[in-house]
Symmetry: C2
Subunit: 147 residues, 2 copies
Amino acid sequence: MTLAPYSDDYFMRQALQEAEKGMHADEVPVGAVIVAKNQIIARSHNLTELLNDVTAHAEMQAITAAAENLGGKYLINCTLYVTLEPCVMCAGALNWSQISKIVFGARDERRGAGRYENIYHPKTEVIGGILKEECRQLIQDFFRKKR
Amino acid sequence: MTLAPYSDDYFMRQALQEAEKGMHADEVPVGAVIVAKNQIIARSHNLTELLNDVTAHAEMQAITAAAENLGGKYLINCTLYVTLEPCVMCAGALNWSQISKIVFGARDERRGAGRYENIYHPKTEVIGGILKEECRQLIQDFFRKKR
């Protein structure tokens, strides 16, 4: 399958690759990339087990790495691709970052920030559902194996 | 002035000392300590400027440090003392940590997590207003000097 570079599907596939790395490392498989000017400037997956740290979600790692890469703490004109809908912590961090766009894959009914109104920055565009079946399947498979 | 050790005022003074360190480092002066069995296991202040990272709030640093100290990522039976009401990001992180108690100083009308219902873990007790005048004054002085 060929994917148009710079499409939401293309970058979500990159986030899915990150999520798969998480899967192999026995982490809840959530992956993220941050894109600026069509270039990936940060890639990460969930590291809560490895780092023994509840704050080590994929999005948090990506925000920190992207800011480091850009040399500034605000992510204006950047887009985050993440395989699972951000939780409240990550949505709050994304709000502080003033990121321009958030694209997530599967919705997280239980812990997703979508349960709250006005949690994202008013200037941030949020889109859900890109490659949602594959994103959801990965997490489902992970928890099925755990049981 | 003598302060009873192990009182909320005592530990909030420790958090205030951290906030003052932030003030001297030209960071928004918010400080935090985490206490387990009446011992301080983590102390931190806001480091967003130094680390160039919007996620580097005092609470986030303290959660990471306390988990490292305890050797486990959950902060059950711990209390966080923080000079300013946690924001949405920090409230979300504290929820994941399952911390038992949160004591904050000044309320944050604009960015505080108190704007949202059910944002903290259902088992977390949250108390506000301890040494609130001193906590608020420190932040007010900081922003006054900035203008």
